[in-house]
Assembly symmetry: C2
Homo-oligomer: 103 residues x 2
DNA sequence: TTATTAACTTACTTTATGTAAGTAAGTATA
DNA sequence: TATACTTACTTACATAAAGTAAGTTAATAA
């Protein structure tokens, strides 16, 4: 039968969002730059997977890793412009969830 | 450290969307009701996982299963109102992907 | 020299997904 | 009557992804 009439860019975007945790990580970073352990505890992800996801998101150009050589070293993750541009999308998810899901 | 200041409804919505394939299934059904094998071939999902996802989405009230007792029996899956309500959200994903991803 | 701290890694277990073959129900055909 | 046909699933088994907990690294402070 016919295969993928779906726009490959849309498919890619969905692929990013449908990976476990990426949505929550991006949502969390919309509040501003955050450190590894802060993201870890706020969304309940394991360190191993967070490490993987941050690398993926950095490769996608969605997240940026900033190193501050203090003592101890401080590393902050923040959204790039590309990542910030997901805000309206997140707002739509929020809107849908407010309307259609129960508390 | 502090845990989940995130709205549970938002978290649930993200949970649905971040399950592999659900986004594409919903997106596909925005084109109108479709049969099992049609969804299967259009997005390239395995029958087993499609079967699981459709059950989940039915339980969530996002997808409806309609049986037409013809020969052979025809079964169509369509979006409920709750499912249709995801259209703006999908449009935002599309918009983001058009702006920020390369072809 | 030892301790401290955050940011990871690694080894291992559990869960999710993929593959391919098989089953069920309801006809139609030989 | 028996066999085949079609779609919509299931099942058994293999591979990949995610979770857990302990360990490593790097920079400096005590």
């Amino acid at each position: 039968m016919e295969k993928s009439l779906i726009c490959p860019r849309f498919e890619k975007a969905i692929g990013i969002l449908s990976q476990r945790w990426t949505g929550l990580i991006i949502y969390q970073l919309l509040n501003g730059p955050q450190r590894f352990c802060s993201i870890e505890s706020s969304i309940g992800i394991s360190g191993k997977v967070l490490s993987d996801r941050l690398k993926d998101l950095e490769n996608e150009g969605i997240v940026k890793r900033n190193v501050y050589p203090e003592t101890p070293v401080r590393i902050e993750y923040s959204l790039t412009e590309k990542g910030q541009a997901m805000e309206p999308l997140m707002q739509e998810i929020e809107k849908w969830s407010q309307t259609w899901l129960e508390a």
